[in-house]
């Protein structure tokens, strides 16, 4: 039997080592090389370093990239789903002077409309064929005269849930429309208690475990707390959270009935990066980033509370 060459001895030792990392080479002449081989058997996949670098670069672009969103839109736009879309649009027009800026109807019956209220946008979707869950919202509407607008809301069929009062530098009252949306109708009469409240619409999220939702938003979307007041048992009584160039208010719901699930449309600089980060933070992927015919690249996730987050970046 002929003597094995050194490269054959080495390969035999490598084969044994790959089958069992603890194997000791029989031939001392290849021991050094086998130790190198053993370390190499744990090296990262060749494309992993580049993939991770790309993911990190996408994350950094989230905080530095600037993109021109569609006119009138900021990062957060509330999105209300219901079958009675026309009735809600009429309510918003009558009470808040909303202006419909666009609508589209798919042959399947799916409906989407966009309404401007003051300096903010509201999306309304669904239509008569909509069979999904209702996602009523709680919105604060900043108006010039809350008394007048509050009365108009009642005249339009809304029910008062809080009569006009003054607190926190605001004069405000609350109503519930017949589609279960809550409207906080407010006029600023003193210094604002938090920055970010100067726009016409602010979305309020009432959830179970508000503190956990705030942590999720920090991880998923790089959110920041601008103001937060916790109750004695750690419940979030009220908070203002910055998301991109917008804010949302988050609090723990007083009871199960007060929990509101909602859809929010986020205009973001890089939808792929935001989607990746949201999924890494624990959100359930609903649909991955996809180029849409209407000019956005969009993606969707659902958080553990059931809120649906649309994310979109305008296609260039």
């Amino acid at each position: 039997m002929s003597k094995q060459t050194n490269f054959e001895q080495l390969d035999q030792a490598v084969t044994d080592m790959l089958a069992n990392r603890d194997v000791v080479p029989a031939e001392a002449s290849v021991a050094d090389l086998l130790l190198i081989a053993r370390d190499l058997s744990a090296m990262p996949r060749p494309d992993f370093k580049a993939r991770l670098r790309s993911a990190l670069e996408r994350t950094t672009s989230m905080s530095t990239k600037t993109v021109q969103f569609r006119e009138g839109f900021r990062t957060v736009t509330p999105y209300i789903f219901l079958p009675e879309t026309e009735e809600l649009i009429a309510f918003v027009q009558d009470v808040f002077g909303g202006v419909e800026t666009g609508r589209s109807a798919h042959e399947s019956g799916a409906f989407h409309a966009e309404v401007r209220i003051g300096d903010s946008m509201l999306m309304i979707g669904g239509g008569p064929s909509y069979k999904g869950p209702r996602k009523p919202v709680t919105l604060r509407v900043l108006v010039a005269n809350s008394d007048e607008v509050y009365q108009r809301a009642l005249d339009a069929g809304a029910i008062s849930t809080l009569e006009i009062t003054e607190n926190y530098g605001e004069r405000f009252g609350c109503v519930r429309d017949r589609f279960d949306n809550q409207w906080i109708i407010s006029t600023q009469i003193g210094p604002a208690y938090s920055e970010g409240l100067e726009h016409s619409l602010t979305t309020f999220l009432k959830v179970r475990s508000g503190a956990k939702l705030i942590d999720f938003l920090k991880q998923a979307f790089g959110a920041a707390e601008l103001m937060r007041a916790d109750g004695p048992e750690g419940q979030v009584r009220h908070s203002i959270i910055r998301l991109g160039d917008s804010v949302v208010a988050i609090s723990d719901a007083a009871n199960e009935e007060a929990v509101s699930l909602l859809g929010l449309y986020l205009y973001v600089p890089d939808v792929d990066a935001w989607y990746d980060r949201a999924v890494r933070a624990g959100a359930l992927p609903s649909y991955p980033p996809t180029d849409q015919a209407y000019g956005d690249r969009g993606a969707g996730v659902t958080d553990e509370w059931g809120n649906f987050w649309y994310m979109a970046t305008p296609l260039l």
């Binding site: 050194n6 490269f7 054959e8 080495l10 390969d11 490598v14 084969t15 790959l18 050094d32 090389l33 130790l35 190198i36 081989a37 370390d39 190499l40 058997s41 744990a42 090296m43 990262p44 996949r45 060749p46 992993f48 370093k49 991770l52 670098r53 993911a55 990190l56 670069e57 994350t59 950094t60 672009s61 905080s63 530095t64 890494r280």
Partner: protein, 174 residues
């Protein structure tokens, strides 16, 4: 060297896109630190990803005290490993966390990190054999088919690649 690293950190703290420089300088050592402990490529890659994302998100909190940046990354990695073990109830995570930061292991981590970098500087055919043999764990026969060469030729390429790495790493591999 340390002064240069300080400048890189300050640049990244001012502009997150400069984090790429710190990543390139430390990727292999963080991966080597983790894989030495977890002995599993997929888990090591997941945890490496976690470490750099955490480091990027918290870079503004990093305070320069003259200690290499890698030490901060090792601390994040040790916690990530302990958390992974806690999730899988694999072993006592507190002792594992302390064990991970034992400085006597760092020279070995540096040596492995250097080795991983050297693979990319091998001639293309040698590099390809190393990747297929040790990462993809293909047999010599399959690699020979892929290359369109004899099995003996592939064994010789493998031998030369490992010799090359030993020579470039310098000194005895222990």
């Amino acid at each position: 060297m340390i002064e240069q690293e300080k400048l890189l950190i300050e640049a990244a703290q001012q502009d997150p896109q400069r984090f790429a420089d710190l990543y390139e300088a430390n990727f292999e050592r963080v991966y080597a630190f983790i894989v030495r402990r977890v002995q599993d490529r997929s888990l090591a890659e997941d945890l490496t990803s976690e470490v750099f994302h955490h480091a990027l998100a918290n870079l503004s909190r990093f305070e320069w005290r003259g200690v290499p940046f890698a030490v901060w990354l090792y601390r994040i990695a040790a916690n990530a490993i302990a958390d992974a073990w806690r999730r899988s109830s694999k072993r006592d995570h507190d002792s594992a966390s302390l064990d991970n930061l034992d400085q006597s292991n760092w020279p070995e981590i540096e040596r492995r990190a250097a080795l991983f970098q050297l693979v990319n500087r091998l001639p293309e055919d040698q590099r390809s054999v190393i990747i297929q043999r040790f990462v993809e764990q293909k047999s010599i026969r399959d690699i020979a088919k892929d290359f369109g060469r004899s099995e003996g030729a592939i064994k010789q390429l493998q031998f030369r690649a490992l010799e090359n790495l030993r020579a470039r790493a310098g000194g005895r591999h222990e």
